[in-house]
Subunit: 199 residues, 2 copies
DNA sequence: TGTACATCAGTGAACGCGCGTTCACTGATGTAC
DNA sequence: TGTACATCAGTGAACGCGCGTTCACTGATGTAC
């Protein structure tokens, strides 16, 4: 049965949001088109009316998955006058570790992006650039720059790498060594905040 | 046709090594039992004479994938009297980025380990602990300790997180933004070496 | 505003394919005599 | 040392299943009059 144009584009959006969540939880290869459409409330037959292929969906879902977290980073930096430590502390919470579907897409999707070139790789690279730009354009002293210098870029790369790597390690160890997992997060909260302020 | 015991256990080892390589390249979910056995020179029918299941192979392959890199880390630390900077610089080479199958298992397998509890998760957690212990027991001044203090653990966690996260980022961006990918590695080589020495 | 009909969003069965796993079979290995 | 035979490592066909994708169909939407 047909459905109104508004309803149809809302349905498309529902599929996209479901995909963005499931892909972050289990990776792009780990979730099928049928499961995504079912979870969004539909059958899989109508999927190709909305998207050209699974890869096209994955690319759009990656963009969507980056949008909110990146906006949140910029908002947090704005609010705290360039101080990234609240963002760092928040990123490294156990709640973020335990709910990958609603968090930062990088610790899961960046690995998928690295496997082969394509739309997903492009979208993720775009997202990573956005994150780096956001960090690099804010200095610990609160000033904002449009043209980050080497030291600004360096600070951004170190902090972002450690956030992502730390989250990957915390998630990998959370079931077999929960105390270690918590410790990794706690140490990084402290160390990266210090690093952000003192270089 | 039957085969001698020595040959059979060599065949088992060949399957294991092939798996350790392919899993690092494309993730555990991205490679099938048939492809692994074929690449190792056999048909897939004999697989279950060597391993109970794909998961059992994956767990053993993870252990194997950690063994050589971890031994190399300890050897390098030994050789350079606790100075981790040669290891850091070597880890962050473009060659390592471009050949995941022969390198550190963490940037690929730690994500698989984080998805669900099980044998793989246990093996990877073991490997991560080994890496952290190796880093933490060596101090920048060249001394070695069996009981790392908070500062030693902190240094280990930051360096390992940034190594892994940096490699994930470098691999994700290498096809869509190769210059950025190279820059990430170069920055981290410099910054993490400095961090190791100066805290 | 009301009616007749073309459009097309979503359904559900079907496609070929590769997955992990099983199994009857083969024939070289290795043991018993 | 030589022969007869049980063992069992590896083969290749087959299993049920879920994958991405296609398609004839349905029936509400939205347009033409």
């Amino acid at each position: 049965m047909k459905v109104s144009k508004e309803q149809s584009s809302a349905n498309r959006q529902a599929i996209l949001e479901t995909a963005a969540r499931l892909y972050r939880e289990r990776g792009i290869g780990g979730v099928g088109v049928a499961e995504i459409t079912r979870e969004a409330g539909f059958t899989h037959g109508g999927f190709y009316g909305h998207f050209d292929s699974k890869e096209a969906l994955a690319a759009e879902a990656c963009e969507l998955a980056f949008a909110a977290p990146l906006a949140r980073l910029n908002a947090t930096l704005e609010k705290h006058e360039g101080d990234a430590t609240p963002y760092i502390t928040n990123y490294l919470r156990t709640q973020h570790r335990d709910k990958p579907g609603e968090g930062c897409p990088m610790p899961t999707l960046a690995i998928d992006a690295g496997r082969e070139p394509g739309l997903v790789s492009d979208a993720v690279t775009q997202g990573i650039s956005g994150y780096l730009k956001a960090f690099a354009s804010h200095r610990p002293d609160g000033s904002v720059t449009e043209a980050p210098e080497a030291a600004d870029k360096a600070r951004a790369v170190v902090v972002l790498s450690a956030l992502i790597g730390g989250m990957v390690l915390a998630r990998a160890t959370s079931s077999a060594a929960p105390a270690l997992s918590d410790e990794i997060l706690a140490i990084l909260q402290e160390e990266l905040s210090t690093f952000w302020k003192n270089g």
